[in-house]
């Protein structure tokens, strides 16, 4: 009697377990199908971001060019957004951007390259273990801190030697920007040089080359596409850099070439205008978008170019 009872409950249990299991599985099957869809939606958000950026920039830039002609914008050497008779020529900003980027690359290019050569070809494991984290540290410092450094240390320091230099100028932020970009050029170039197979190195050394000759005649030619890509990305970074120039290069919109004087870059213009109180709907407000659009297109082209160079001209071993 008792045993019988036990049996029946256990049958019931098994049955309900099967039932439960079935429910669970159908529930699971639904989940299994839903997951990829949910994840796809999430993945599309990154595309949505791009669409958002492009859409916002294009619509507002169109509004700007309804008021200011394309020709005046791209060929004008006078930028006077706040005056009674406003002029919106972007050339002073492009000039400032190019000059600061050139100064930065004059620092970051050679030093970054030499750093990469040292780390990849000369340094012992021990030296590399110490130096690489320090470079990473340099790369991790917020740009506003670099701006502070350019404004409160580098500029006063340089003024001891160049008395006619302004309290804000393009030279100091350009130099500091260069220091900021060193780690980027160094690590990307080092990656490129490291990926050159060791047999080539050893072959050249066995033929009697010095390390220097191996580096310049074998490694750098083999890694050339990667190194060029690193430089292009460095330039793109310099062009898009904001806080250093916003703090230390001032807001003069003169179309000049004297690096000891204040100049404004495209990024610093956006900071100045957006940070000030401009009413939405004014021409100066729309000029923000036109400048940002120019900046966006330029950096996008540089990044595409860097990827293209790295892929197209890569030597395969």
């Amino acid at each position: 009697m008792v045993e019988n009872n036990k049996e029946s409950t256990s049958t019931v249990r098994v049955k309900s377990m099967i039932e439960q299991n079935r429910q669970k599985q159908s529930f699971r099957a639904v989940g299994e199908k839903a997951v990829p869809t949910v994840l796809l939606v999430i993945a599309l958000i990154s595309i949505l971001t791009t669409i958002g950026i492009v859409f916002v920039l294009i619509t507002e830039t169109f509004e700007f060019f309804n008021r200011v002609s394309l020709v005046e914008f791209f060929t004008g050497t006078v930028l006077r957004p706040l005056s009674q008779d406003p002029k919106f020529g972007i050339l002073p900003l492009i000039n400032g951007t190019i000059i600061s980027s050139v100064i930065a690359m004059l620092v970051a290019g050679p030093i970054g390259m030499m750093t990469a050569i040292y780390l990849s070809e000369y340094a012992s494991d021990k030296a590399r273990r110490v130096l690489k984290p320090v470079l990473e540290l340099l790369a991790g410092i917020p740009t506003v801190v670099y701006g502070f450094f350019a404004f409160t240390f580098v500029t006063p320091f340089l003024r001891q030697f160049i008395p006619e230099m302004g309290a804000t100028n393009i030279l100091a932020p350009g130099l500091v920007m260069g220091v900021m970009i060193i780690p980027m050029i160094a690590s990307l170039s080092e990656d490129a040089m490291n990926s050159v197979p060791n047999d080539m190195r050893e072959g050249a050394l066995a033929l009697g080359s010095t390390k220097l000759e191996v580096t310049f005649k074998v490694i750098i030619p083999a890694a050339f596409s990667g190194i060029v890509a690193a430089f292009v990305l460095g330039i793109s970074r310099a062009v898009g850099e904001t806080m250093i120039v916003a703090i230390a290069s001032g807001s003069s919109k003169n179309f000049i070439f004297d690096v000891t004087q204040s100049m404004q870059t495209m990024t610093a213009y956006v900071v100045e205008v957006a940070g000030g109180d401009t009413s939405p709907g004014s021409t100066i407000y729309y000029s923000l978008y036109a400048v940002a659009m120019t900046l966006f297109i330029f950096t996008l082209l540089m990044n595409i170019l860097a990827r293209y160079i790295a892929r197209r001209f890569r030597e395969e071993y």
């Binding site: 994840l39 990154s46 000369y122 130096l131 062009v239």
Partner: protein
């Protein structure tokens, strides 16, 4: 006719080549230490200027018009609030996108578009994200420059970093783990949830922390968004106006040309910000070294 090897000339040439190699290797080392040197100067300046200003009143005080009584509690809280938005948003969106790209997407056009798009986004200057945030979050959604708007803007900015590092972490999980799981009857999602994600977690976390430290050090997008420096009430929620440490540094640096003391306050704030970044990055390194398993 025999050709003569001018042993003298050969020896001189060899000497020159070896000397050049040695000399330039010194130059390369010097160039490498240049970065270290600049870092040293920067730290020296910040520490000597800032340390005297760091005390409990400075850390917990409100902003004040008098430099000697100014505190940065508002900016610290603002930075924490920003992190509170950025962490969940970037982890959900970043890891989700990475799982889709690595484990679900078929190698087709759509996947290629997503992939190219992500690498393009990572090269967009941060200030352009600021313009996006200002237009969409602050104006269009009418949020204003509140914690939520700033947090979402920063999340979009660092999202590519999280996606790329998560994808790398997922890719590094060896195939036999998931094959074994599928072989035991687990479904795909069960395998991802129970096998692949736990194995990739240290890598994902490391990337997420690095992205987070980028987000709390960024200034430009927030300037464009209209985040102020002078803020008396502390932020207490997602829809409160806020300021962050980098903004404080920015405004105090600009004020330094008027009152020198602001420069020292900026230095002190930089010390606090860098300390936060060191803690974050230190955590990332510990996670990487301790939990990263090599298969």
């Amino acid at each position: 006719m025999t050709t003569h090897i001018h042993s003298e000339r050969v020896r001189n040439r060899m000497k020159r080549r070896v000397a050049l190699n040695k000399g330039l290797s010194g130059v390369f080392l010097l160039a490498t230490t240049f970065g270290v040197f600049v870092l040293g100067v920067l730290f020296y300046q910040i520490l000597t200027e800032g340390i005297p200003y760091i005390n409990l009143d400075f850390l917990t005080g409100k902003l004040s018009t008098m430099p000697e009584r100014a505190g940065i509690m508002g900016a610290i809280l603002g930075t924490l609030w920003l992190m509170a938005v950025v962490i969940p948003v970037t982890i959900v969106l970043g890891v989700g996108t990475a799982i889709y790209n690595e484990l679900y997407a078929k190698q087709g056009k759509l996947q290629k578009i997503i992939q190219t798009n992500i690498s393009n986004l990572s090269g967009v200057p941060s200030i352009v994200y600021g313009i996006l945030g200002m237009t969409i979050f602050a104006s269009l959604l009418n949020l204003g420059s509140v914690v939520l708007a700033g947090g979402l803007t920063m999340s979009l900015l660092v999202l590519p970093i999280v996606i790329v590092s998560s994808q790398e972490a997922l890719r590094a999980v060896p195939g036999y783990l998931s094959e074994a799981s599928i072989g035991l009857g687990a479904t795909k999602w069960q395998t991802i949830k129970n096998i692949i994600l736990p194995a990739a977690l240290p890598g994902i976390l490391t990337g997420a922390i690095l992205a987070l430290s980028r987000a709390i050090g960024e200034t430009a997008p927030l300037v464009v968004l209209g985040v102020p420096a002078l803020l008396l009430p502390f932020p207490g929620g997602l829809f409160d106006r806020f300021t962050v440490l980098p903004m404080q540094i920015y405004y105090w640096t600009l004020d330094a040309s008027l009152v020198e003391e602001y420069q020292f306050l900026a230095s002190a704030t930089i010390i606090v910000l860098l300390a936060m970044l060191f803690i974050l990055n230190g955590t990332a390194i510990v996670i990487r070294n301790k939990f990263q398993r090599r298969y």
